[in-house]
Amino acid sequence: MSLKEKEKKIKELEEKLQRIKNDPDLIDAVEGKRIEDTITRYKEHTYSSLSAYDRVYLARKSERPHIKEYIANLFDDFIEMHGDRFFKDDQAIVGGIGYFNHLPVTVIGHQKGRNLDDNMKCQFGMASPDGYRKAMRLIKQAEKFNRPIITFVDTPGAYPGIEAEENGIGEAIGQSLMLLSDVTVPVIVFVVGEGGSGGALAISIGDHIAMLENAVYSVLSPEGFASILWKDTKGERVGEACEVMKMTAKDLYEAHIIDEIIPEALGGVHKDPALTYRKIRQVITEQLDALVRVSKKDLLNRRYAKFRKIGDYRG
């Protein structure tokens, strides 16, 4: 049974229980409690044995908090900035400045949108070159005013389209990687949903990289991966792709690609976002506290070493 089906079953059981609970003739309190415990146990069992494919499903859930919710819950007096100063304002990337505990910071992240209208406006979080150029403008601005940068990553990948290619999507991502590797302010990265490919990496070069428990981060979407490697266009081997790619937070933590896993509520961050916000707040506080004390030179050297060491080769 897929997680989607299991979730449906849990929801049905919970609704049924609610109905009979409201009628004392049908059920007594002891019996009610017993059924409730059984459902809870089933839930716990379901969410403690998630496959990589299940995590991809959770990571993509539209109920998950999006960039604007993270901003509203973590930063004060946030002001959004628009445009790349060359061409246009890409809605797939949101950026601006605000306070984190009285400290001015720059916040940048992907925006997916929640309804179809918004989805279309921000291309489901798939940024175009203008989006990355907006991000770069804000990164340079942050450096000028010595503001730490905090990014929220949630994208299936960069936008694959004619206009994106005409405007140099490859060049934009490359420039962004180069810029972030050398920016003299602290950069803290949160992979909160889907971390898809170069489109995610472009704003993920930082000093501390944290990932939500059910977020995923990979070289390509599992669908794209299965199609490229196994010529699977019907999606029959997507589940297998999720497993072999080792794309979950746990896999990436064990591979030393990320530094920390942020816990989510049972069933996903959307079940209790406040819990995750609290943890993110704690991580930002700790990291900023440590990173602002580091000299610019050391900061850059450490960030360089962090990515420099990623590899697995011999000879």
């Binding site: 994106a164 290619e165 050398d182 490919s197 170069g198 070069i205 070289v219 790619m245 697995d312």
Partner: protein, 286 residues
């Protein structure tokens, strides 16, 4: 009219029966290796002639595949260069099913351990570090070996204060090494930034085909971006775009000329002008 069509079909069937079940072959049988058929104009050219012409079709000018080492030989003064880290191999970080077999096959075919060659030598007397991606080894996709070798090459050039030329040609990130491949994009770009900060020259030389994670990392970041004529250069592959957008792509889309038109490549240089152009550029920066 119907009768006429029926008769024609009958005659056609008779003809097919006469030829046997196999459809008539359009190809002329050519003894292996003596002639090469140009994939563009389909003209037949003596293989030795093609080689002398640096694998450019003398009839239509199509730039065909040239091996990494042949490219280096024609580039460096007297064809002399030193190769670095050629024995480096991947440890297969994801323990990916059948990856080892694929690597073994590619090694047998090419004699290389990975699709990236790092070389150093003199070009027009100027000491230069050169990276060539040879796409006969698993499309020269970038995994941890390619990423590490390219990063080392950039760092070596920075340390020795030498100009750097990278001949790109790649299918992008190597899928079999997953996230480790993706991270090589960040690693190479970070190294490149240091080379750049040191005021050193980086020429990116794009050849057919350069796509995916290589396009989206170091390949378009040259102080000077050069492309070979007609090379496919893009981030998303044409088929991916076509299937996402469900529309036909314009002619010449993602070709070198398209990138010049849109402002991402400085110049297109034919292979026989490659060495002299690079010498001029290296001297202009020395």
């Amino acid at each position: 009219m119907d009768k006429l069509l029926k008769e024609r079909r009958h005659r056609l069937n008779e003809f097919k029966d006469y030829l046997g079940k196999k459809p008539a072959s359009k190809h002329v049988e050519i003894p292996d290796g003596i002639y090469t058929k140009c994939p563009q104009c389909e003209g037949l050219v003596l293989s030795s002639h093609i080689k002398e012409n640096m694998y450019v079709c003398p009839k239509c000018g199509r730039h065909m595949y040239i091996s990494g080492h042949e490219r280096l030989e024609q580039l460096f003064d007297n064809g002399k260069y030193k190769e670095y880290w050629s024995s480096m191999k991947t440890n297969d970080p994801l323990d990916f099913p059948d990856y080892d077999l694929k690597l073994e096959k590619a090694k047998k075919r090419t004699g290389m351990n990975d699709g990236v060659i790092v070389a150093s030598g003199r070009i027009g007397h100027i000491k230069t570090v050169v990276v060539v991606m040879d796409n006969h080894f698993m499309m020269a996709s970038m995994g941890t070996v390619a990423g590490e070798k390219i990063t080392r090459a950039i760092e070596y050039a920075t340390r020795k204060k030498r100009p750097l030329i990278i001949f790109s040609s790649s299918g992008g990130a190597r899928m079999q090494e997953g996230i480790f491949s993706l991270m090589q994009m960040g690693k190479t770009c970070a190294a490149l930034k240091r080379h750049m900060n040191a005021g050193l020259l980086y020429i990116s030389y794009l050849t057919h085909p350069t796509t995916g994670g290589v396009t989206a990392s170091f390949a378009l970041l040259g102080d000077i971006n050069i492309a070979e004529p007609g090379a496919l250069i893009g981030f998303a592959g044409p088929r991916v775009i076509e299937s996402t957008l469900r529309q036909k792509l314009p002619e010449g889309f993602q070709r070198s000329e398209f990138l010049v038109e849109h402002g991402f490549v400085d110049l297109i240089v034919e292979r026989n002008k490659s060495r002299e152009t690079l010498i001029t550029l290296l001297h202009l920066h020395s």
